[in-house]
């Protein structure tokens, strides 16, 4: 059986408020260089979002696939797959494989439920210190700051229960 899950999000609005939030922080006294980088990052993000139109699927997951070795796996759309990869390149060393959490960073699956895209970008770009520990800021790392949308799609897919644990594949 092939299970297909999709989710819809309005990206046009998200982009606007993101911009507001970021420029507000620049006023808060961020050094000029960071402000510039932020602007660059935003332009980038803006473009990505334009290409997805005002409303589009946040992720698409097709599970119930089986590989040659008889192991089950899921197909992801390209963006969500890139989100998975970015997560397992940069975030999994704290949040653990499949975002299930470790002894020093929380499980993101429950937490992400309460997040809209703005809040997620804010947390990820700027980092914060909470009760569990220190979440680092990612805005100066282009490998992550260009991928907020993809990361969000991946985490939502996990958190919504659409994507089980394990290594997905990119839909050919």
């Amino acid at each position: 059986m092939i299970l297909v899950a999709t989710a819809i999000l309005l990206f046009a609005c998200a982009a606007d408020s993101t911009e507001e939030k970021l420029s507000a922080q620049v006023v808060d006294g961020a050094p000029e260089s960071t402000a510039k980088e932020k602007a660059a990052g935003m332009a980038d993000a803006g473009q990505d979002e334009k290409s997805t139109d005002s409303a589009s699927a946040l992720y698409s997951v097709e599970c119930g696939q089986v590989n040659d070795a008889g192991e089950p796996f899921c197909y992801l759309d390209r963006d969500t797959y890139i989100g998975w990869r970015t997560f397992h390149g940069f975030c999994h060393r704290c949040h653990a494989q499949d975002a299930v959490g470790s002894t020093f960073a929380p499980n993101l699956l429950d937490r992400i439920q309460g997040f809209d895209f703005d809040a997620f970008v804010d947390r990820t770009a700027n980092g914060f210190t909470g009760q569990v520990g220190v979440m680092p800021p990612w805005k100066d790392n282009p490998n992550v700051s260009k991928r907020y949308k993809e990361l969000f799609a991946y985490l939502k897919a996990r958190s919504d229960g659409a994507l089980p644990r394990g290594r997905p594949k990119k839909k050919p």
Partner: protein
Amino acid sequence: MTKRIIVMIGVALAVIAPGTSSGNTELMKLMDNPDNWAIWGGDYAGTRYSKLNEINSKNVGDLQVAWTFSTGVLRGHEGGPLVVGDTMYIMTPFPNKVFAIDLNDQTIIWRYEPKQDPDTIPVMCCDTVARGLAYADGKIFLQQADTHLVALNAKTGKMIWRIKNGDPKKGSTNTNAPVVIKDKVLTGISGGEFGVRGFLAAYNISDGSLAWKGFSVGPDKDTLIDPIKTTHLGKPVGKSSGTNTWKGDQWKIGGGTTWGWYTYDPDLNLVYYGTGNPSTWNPVVRPGDNRWSMTIFARDLDTGKAKWLYQMTPHDEWDYDGINEMILADIKVKGKNRKVLVHFDRNGFGYTLDRVTGELLVAEKFDPSVNWATHVNMKTGRPAVVAKYSTHATGQDTNTKNVCPAALGSKDQQPAAFSPKTGLFYVPTNHLCMDYEPFEVEYVAGQPYVGATLSMFPAGRVTGDGTTNLGNFIAWDASAGKIVWSLPERFSVWSGALATAGDIVFYGTLEGYLKAVDAKTGKELYKFKTPSGIIGNVNTWKHDGKQYIGVLSGIGGWAGIGMAAGLTGDTDGLGAVGAYKALDNYTQLGGVLTVFALPD
């Protein structure tokens, strides 16, 4: 009382003749007396062996908890305390508090809590661990996470000097325990995932001034490598060996960090340690052997000059850091008495080398699941890499499947022990495999520079032998290169071992058990569940004529991640889901020292 006197004499000697004899006179005296545990490995050779035998294979079953001490810190507690005379010195993970404890009544004599930049925390690779202190010359040497190296007055806890060993803004941090030899304190650097170029540095214990610094990669003047005198498997390394196997100036962000343990042979005056992964886990973009990452170094203590080198994993494609401890022992190999260095690498091979010349004597797998290489060519020293497990050959954006071991290695930093009585090495190991996919990343100073995704799972999924254990505790014959016995453990064994003259070996488990096993047979003789998972190293000492065993519990570190790796639940296809309850079901965070003794 007698112990106090010994300490006093030691201090006097060290003051009269600093650095004129081999080792550090005072420290060597302390280490010679098994009542102390004066250095991370018990001795300069890193054997983690104690001559104490009051607790032995006959009575260890009667062991009881004598006292406990909470550090008040939640993060992963690696390393272990030092015992010098009547005082115990404990270091915690970030914020790296230090406690001096009076062993007569377990009161705190002094405490020291550095103020450290919290920006250090997020650039630490895998939890804010710290592996302990060094003692010498009436000083406690504290290597802080933010790279400050601090000398404290051992009696009062007052700071004597403080120097900076790196820049956390560029991703440099420290987790290693420093080591004092002669009039120098040695330390390394962490941050391979941030493009930090590794080095070993020697600072003068009197004032913290730099004596020498030898980089792992770079021009000869940086690496302190002599093109003619420094050898690799007996041959001169030639000019520019630290740059000519790198593309362009990639060596500048080359990695080869030095966050492991350092050992020393006073007769040869050589210090031994290993270097970590070349930066970026994506091998495709950094062609060449990437020398001298993944390398065993032997350096002259006085000058820092490299005597010999051996690169275990040229052109790393799997993150098999070479930083694990180098244990120095004198054993028979192929019928000949040898001064050897024994090293259990992340890459799954147990190496025995002649520590005088750097000749390779034995290189065998210490976990049968290891599959990335079939064997090591004993002439060239190179591993015979299996093409289908080469993440470089498989290429960027492609998944290389079922590589054993996983990036955690068949063994990570948790140090092994050597018993001269049995002639065996006791090794805490991991038993995990992985899928690995390199991808292209941009380098930004102070930002992680990983460039690979990986997923880890129990080795049994690759070997198909139906096992689900994530770790083993093994006894190893370093002369034959063979496993003598192996005890499966549910989770990785991430605790440093202790062997004693009582014919027993101790280690901790991630569920939190301290275990004692028979040194000859591996038979379990005692276990006790401490307050949290154990990733610390077991040690022993004597106070008031009574032997004690101590270990820090406090789950965390990369082990916390390795744990989650086994928990693939419904997608793991193993069926043995019951064996994979979350770590939470066994233990929670929190640093506590538990001290054991026999009943009076």
